[in-house]
Amino acid sequence: MGNRLRNLGAAFVLLIFGALQACNSAYAQDAPRWLSIEFPQDSPVLPVSSDLGPIVRQRGMSMVLGIHTSLMLRNTGSRTICGLTLRVEAPDLTPSGRGSVSVPSLMVRPGEVFPVRMDVEVRRPFDAKTEGPIIQISLDCVLFSDLTSYGPDRLNSRRALVVYELEARRDRRYLAGLVESQQWTQLRQELNFGLVDLTPPQLGFELLHGPQPVGRNEQAIPVGVVPFRGSPVQPMGGAAKLSGNEIRAPQVDVRNTSQKAVRNVEMGWILRDQRGRDFVAGSVATPVSLGPVQSGRLTEQGTLRFSQPGGQPVTIDAVMAFVNDVEYADGNFWIPSRRDIIEATSDPILRRALSTSPEQQRLAEVYRRRGMSGLEAELSKLK
């Protein structure tokens, strides 16, 4: 009886294993149908190679489809591209979830080819039915050097690309100024002495939407402000609901101190944990209509839950806000200058966090790989 049961059990396990392997191989054979790369015919950028052979594997009762390669794109237009965003969608997740891959700080001239790194994984149940590709990659926005753009911009990525480009130009000017004035010590300090920061201050996030239960120990706390002197919109103060490692509904009162109408304000958020460490948690752009010298309130929905990268909760002690950028009604932007950042805080770590832009990180990588001469060549090329 026991042997018979054992044999039946072994046969059942083999059957399951065989079925999973069959599914796996079937998925692998059908792999090309799983992926679609769509660019409009009149797109100023087109894929040169689409060698994105997906990797399929099974995890428990789920299937994971992964793409781990670089998509090579060519600038087929007549203008220099300085930023690009690709939309990554999975029909299993839409309409509620999607992703994007952006490459800012580019300087791709007409005819040039550039890579965009794609590391995407989609996990779905084996029994999920989808007609058509599992992963869809398409163009969302291309930003040109004159700050005009192309693309459907469904993810509002043009705004982010413009801010990145303005920050890049600011930082290039700043670093080029240090080179011209031969302030080598300051320059090396700005570029982290060519060292790779292997342990940058990190936070793990969980952004929850929908109605959330109120925490037992939830308390209202004031939101401090880090004012930039040159900002046309000044934060006046605010409040948030704090419960352990969760922050709910943070809000900040702001005043437009300029004579121009404002339609969008992006607030940056700084968190201080119980050990006094500051983290720039990120920034959130909020559409707001602020006339000249008008006040308003920016309120964020949802709940943010913070943790260490390993998953241990981080207890939040204080919350601060700063104005990351302002979009005027006429479409122009304001971003903080280097002087604004230097004057805003005396904390060198916070100052560094506020001033670290994507372009500065890219130039730091150039300096690390090619040294000071390589950095000078890069800065002169971008003038």
Partner: protein, 211 residues
């Protein structure tokens, strides 16, 4: 230099040999030759008789008194019995200990096998069951036993050590990034990660969005 006593013994056997003869501890060829000598030699015969009488006295005392280490020498048979008895007691004790150890070993072996199977199960679970499903199961169990408040449904954006992910409708999309990436909130419903691509040297920013 020989003593006067030794010189007087001449071709006579040694006293130690006579003592062994008296206790019947000589091999038979030597015993046979010594017996022939004793029959012919009154002096040696007297010496041997003294050894015999002394041995009888020792035996008598040994039977009437507690055996000591020295006295035991005089009664080899009793010593043998005691030694055999002690050995038997030792062997019996060892068997008792052995049985106790076996029981312990059996119980330990069972615990080891159980722990090994548990580890194998945990390893198999970790390798095959996605983390999200494990978390979901743990949360469900906690909810069942009333240890946890209900979790939100809908779209969840989260950062993991490997990347940033959006979970909705039973599926998960993860945009992977290296460990050096800086993860931030990138909007009202978005989490982003910024890193420098090792191959191209270009900055890459990934975002996941949820509504």
């Amino acid at each position: 230099m020989k003593s006067a006593n030794d010189a007087r013994r001449g071709n006579h056997p040694e006293l130690a040999e006579l003592a062994l003869w008296a206790s019947h501890d000589l091999p038979w060829p030597r015993r046979f030759r010594l017996k022939r000598h004793l029959d012919a030699c009154a002096f040696c015969s007297q010496q041997a008789a003294q050894f015999c009488s002394a041995r009888e006295a020792f035996r008598h005392d040994a039977q009437s008194q507690t055996l000591t280490g020295y006295e035991a020498i005089a009664d080899w048979q009793r010593l043998e019995r005691e030694m055999v008895g002690n050995i038997a007691v030792g062997v019996a004790a060892a068997r008792c200990i052995d049985k106790v150890g076996r029981k312990r070993f059996r119980s330990w072996r069972g615990a080891f096998v159980g722990a090994g199977m548990a580890m194998l199960l945990a390893l198999g679970w970790m390798m095959n069951i996605p983390r999200e499903e494990s978390e979901h199961l743990a949360l469900s169990l906690r909810r069942i036993v009333g240890m946890n408040r209900s979790q939100p449904s809908g779209t969840i954006l989260q950062s993991t050590p490997d990347g940033i992910a959006v979970r909705a409708q039973g599926a998960t999309m993860t945009l992977l990034h290296p460990a050096s990436a800086v993860v931030t909130v990138a909007g009202n419903a978005s989490v982003g990660a910024l890193y420098v691509d090792e191959d191209s040297g270009e900055v890459t920013i990934t975002n996941v969005y949820g509504q």
